[in-house]
């Protein structure tokens, strides 16, 4: 029924186009070198955190050896001034740090999603009110507030998490709100309303899936914030000193004068771990940016392939 020059497109299904948009996002991430590096590092830390009780059974803060030993085959990262094994502390520390980071990340992002979606979807008074609250929280000086809050609530991971979420959600809410707002104004939302969909379904099934990358970016940024802020709080002695975490390791290192005594091995591992995790997350985050915004991608030297597009 067709001639040589007229063709129905269904006959030439292009394999590249048959992909789901979300899957191409994931595919983009997997093939992005930055993301790959970041994910490998993160994965390593997560595995380490999960395996910690197996690798170093028992209480990691147990005193097991002479104090302030340099790294040796017995204690790969030496011991603290109290005689605790630094490697055990570092490995176990990842549990609390990652846990807090991830919890804070998920919780802040979740609140951000709720606030952002509600704000954008309902608009008007709800939006005004929610934006006001968000902006007020944004303007509250974070670290001072953290310090004050952390001092007032009973210590414990719960408090740290609560405090970090309280100070951290507003940033994600603002980002997510503005994204949700721009999607809210898209016609497909109006179309869903016209077809009779209910509010909840529109927010979570129509708007949210289109924010995947920004949600992911916010999540990563929140996790980074959580890990860093936890470390800062704990370093100031405002965390739960009795748990083992990277921040607390550094707190104790400072307390025991690790730098003063030249015990760099007590001071360095936890700091580097924090940096590595944050760096890995940042890499993934930038990769997300690049995948969703191709303009940011690294420019390759153009190589003309003779396979011109089949028009």
């Amino acid at each position: 029924m067709t001639t040589a020059i007229l063709k129905q497109p269904t006959e030439s299904t292009e394999p590249a186009a048959a992909r789901k948009p979300n899957r191409s996002f994931v595919h983009g991430l997997i093939t992005n070198k930055k993301a790959l590096a970041g994910m490998i590092v993160m994965l390593a830390f997560i595995v380490l955190a999960l395996l910690a009780p197996v690798l170093f059974p028992g209480d990691p803060s147990r005193i097991t050896a002479m104090a302030s030993l340099e790294p040796s085959p017995e204690h790969w990262l030496g011991t603290t001034a109290k005689g605790q094994d630094v490697l055990a502390l570092t490995v176990h520390g990842s549990r609390s740090s990652l846990f807090v980071g991830l919890t804070v990340g998920f919780a802040s992002t979740f609140i951000g999603i709720l606030v952002g979606l509600a704000s954008a979807y309902f608009g008007k008074f709800i939006d005004e009110a929610l934006s006001l609250v968000t902006n007020v929280f944004l303007l509250l000086p974070g670290l001072p507030l953290l310090v004050i809050l952390a001092a007032f609530l009973p210590p414990g991971l719960g408090t740290v998490i609560l405090v970090l979420v309280v100070t951290g959600w507003a940033g994600s809410a603002r980002v997510l709100r503005s994204q949700a707002l721009s999607i809210r104004s898209k016609d497909f939302v109006a179309a869903a309303v016209v077809s009779g969909e209910r509010a909840g379904r529109i927010m979570f099934r129509e708007i949210l899936p289109n924010m995947a990358s920004i949600v992911m970016g916010t999540l990563l940024a929140c996790v980074i914030y959580g890990i860093g802020a936890q470390a800062g709080l704990e370093f100031l002695g405002l965390g739960d000193v009795s748990t083992v975490s990277w921040g607390n390791n550094l707190f104790w290192a400072g307390n025991e004068g690790a730098l003063l005594t030249g015990s760099w091995w007590v001071f360095v591992p936890s700091g580097v771990c924090i940096a590595l995790v944050a760096f890995a997350l940042a890499l993934i985050n930038y990769a997300v940016d690049e995948v969703t915004n191709p303009r940011l991608r690294k420019i390759k030297t153009p190589k003309i392939t003779e396979r011109s597009a089949a028009k």
Binding site: I63, A67, D240, V241, S242, N255, L260, T261, G262
Partner: protein, 528 residues
């Protein structure tokens, strides 16, 4: 870095200031009011002086603004004779009225001294009259900083005055180049012992924490390091073995692990003793206090009271020595059986579990608590370290809403207050009512009688006898778990100044906050 000039240049040393860090004040404010809740450094050490100085390192008492004193036979008064020729830094002479006025002001502003009825000044003597026989008063009144009446009586609101240019009798009173991060005190030109003002002045540096102060000490930027320095041999002494020394006499307060005796099972003396036996004090001091503290014994007295100790009690000590076996046996016997999982249960069947509360900022005590917790695990008892803010911890202590905690104790020249706060019923308040010293809420009537006797007795040797009995009572009742004598931190470098107190020459401790500090200030001299 300017002070790091080495110790050869005698002329430079003669002009140098004795540099001292203050590790817990990130910044200074120009407030030299001794009534301020957080008094600036050196106010009570080099600006104002007291009638006498008790030196816990040697256990002796040095007459200072008073040359002598005498307690009345009935123990209801004590009379001090003031030193002649003492002048305030503005040139006015120190008179007995100044002393009387100081106490009037003290009672008005800060309260306390409720036993003190009147202070009468007569010529160069001052008499303190009590409303009951009260021997512990001597050191309390004797060590209070004396203020000039002619200055303070002119102030409308003495407790709120910043007292920016203080007038005192001390060796270094002239405030100079005051900045938030440092200030200098220069010589008092009217000092009563000018031959002892051998250094040019004192320079205080503000630090936001031990770290900075320790760094300064390690770097040789300060002459005197009165703060806790971790691994001091390595971080401080080893950098200049010839000149640097430290000395941590155990003259601080006794640090106790106190158990809330209003709660089961801590109301059981066997439990208290068993828990005490389970604690490895060597490990506690080694890890928690870097090995600088001295483990406690059954007298419960710290090194400050070395001369008061009952040697019989001390030598036959059982429950302050590590003995896991005995601890287990005692707990078994007392009815706290070990379960199959190795954990003990209480009499009501609940697990033997409790919290040890310590303020979050006291990292050393946190380590102590952690060690105790580890030790207790050996006898099947679970102790969780709880470290909220100090204010929350203390609030719990005060109202009796806590399981156990690590707490300091009174540290006076006489052991009266110590024992009164540890076992006196007068200090016990019901749970819910605030108490300010006997947090563990333990009262013992036998101890009450002994304490009353002690207070009325002014003869030292008789006091000693009573103190011995108090220690026996303490040994029996184990009101709390003594851990170790708090060390008095102190280190110095003698590149620029010599004449420091040491273990061999303990004329004072190396504290910069104790009354004895002035003794050091008046002894040091520039290195020649």
């Amino acid at each position: 870095t300017v002070n790091n000039s080495g110790g050869t240049d005698a002329a430079a040393n003669a002009n140098a200031f004795l540099t001292i860090p203050r590790e817990d004040m990130g910044t200074f404010v120009q407030n030299f009011n001794p009534f301020a809740p957080a008094v600036n450094p050196m106010v009570q050490q080099s600006i104002y002086e007291s009638l006498l100085i008790f030196n816990p390192a040697k256990g002796d008492t040095v007459p200072w603004l008073a040359t002598e004193w005498k307690a009345a036979e009935d123990g209801k008064s004590v009379t001090f004779t003031l030193r002649d020729g003492v002048k305030w830094s503005d040139g006015q002479p120190l008179v007995a009225d100044d002393v009387a006025y100081t106490f009037e002001l003290q009672k008005k502003i800060k309260g306390g001294l409720e036993y003190l009825e009147t202070v009468t000044a007569e010529g160069n003597t001052v008499t303190f009259n009590f409303n009951k026989p009260w021997s512990p008063a001597l050191y309390e009144v004797g060590q209070l900083s004396i203020l000039p009446k002619h200055i303070w009586s002119a102030l409308a609101d003495p407790e709120k005055d910043a007292n920016a240019t203080p007038v005192g009798t001390g060796p270094y009173t002239e405030v100079d180049s005051f900045q938030a991060q440092s200030f200098v005190l220069k010589k008092n030109t009217n000092y009563w012992q000018p031959e002892k003002q051998k250094i040019a002045g004192i320079k205080m540096l503000a630090f936001a924490g031990n770290d900075g102060a320790n760094l300064a000490a390690a770097n040789g930027d300060v002459d005197w390091a009165p703060q806790y320095i971790p691994n001091i041999e390595k971080t401080f002494v080893s950098k200049d073995k010839e000149h640097r020394q430290y000395w941590f006499p155990p003259t601080g307060a006794m640090i106790n692990w106190q158990l809330n005796t209003t709660k089961a099972p801590f109301n059981d003396v066997d439990v208290r003793k068993a828990l005490s036996m389970a604690v490895d004090r060597d490990q506690v001091t080694k890890i928690g206090m870097s090995g600088y503290a001295e483990p406690a014994d059954c007298t419960g007295l710290s090194g400050n009271y070395e001369t008061w100790k009952n040697n019989e009690v001390k030598d036959n000590c059982t429950w302050t020595k590590l003995d896991v076996q005995a601890a287990n046996d005692l707990l078994d016997k007392a009815g706290y059986p070990k379960g199959a999982d190795g954990k003990r249960t209480l009499k009501d069947g609940k697990p033997f579990e409790f919290k040890i509360s310590v303020g979050a900022t006291s990292s050393d005590w946190l380590s102590v608590a952690n060690v105790i917790s580890q030790n207790l695990a050996e006898v099947g008892v679970t102790a969780k370290v709880d470290s909220p803010d100090w204010a929350a911890v203390v609030a719990g202590y005060e109202t009796g809403d806590f399981d156990s905690g690590i707490v300091w104790s009174a540290n006076d020249p006489s052991p009266y207050k110590y024992f009164a706060a540890v076992m006196g019923t007068s200090t016990v308040k019901p749970v819910g009512t605030k108490t300010f010293d006997n947090y563990h809420r333990f009262g013992d009537t036998t101890a009450d009688a002994l304490l009353a006797e002690f207070a009325a007795e002014s003869d030292e040797s008789k006091q000693q006898d009573i103190a011995n009995k108090l220690q026996e009572e303490y040994n029996d009742a184990a009101p709390l778990v003594p851990l170790f004598s708090g060390p008095e931190w102190g280190a110095f470098t003698d590149t620029r100044f010599t004449g420091w107190p040491t273990e061999d020459n303990p004329y004072a401790t190396l504290s910069v906050r104790a009354p004895t500090t002035v003794l050091v200030l008046t002894t040091l001299e520039p290195r020649k």
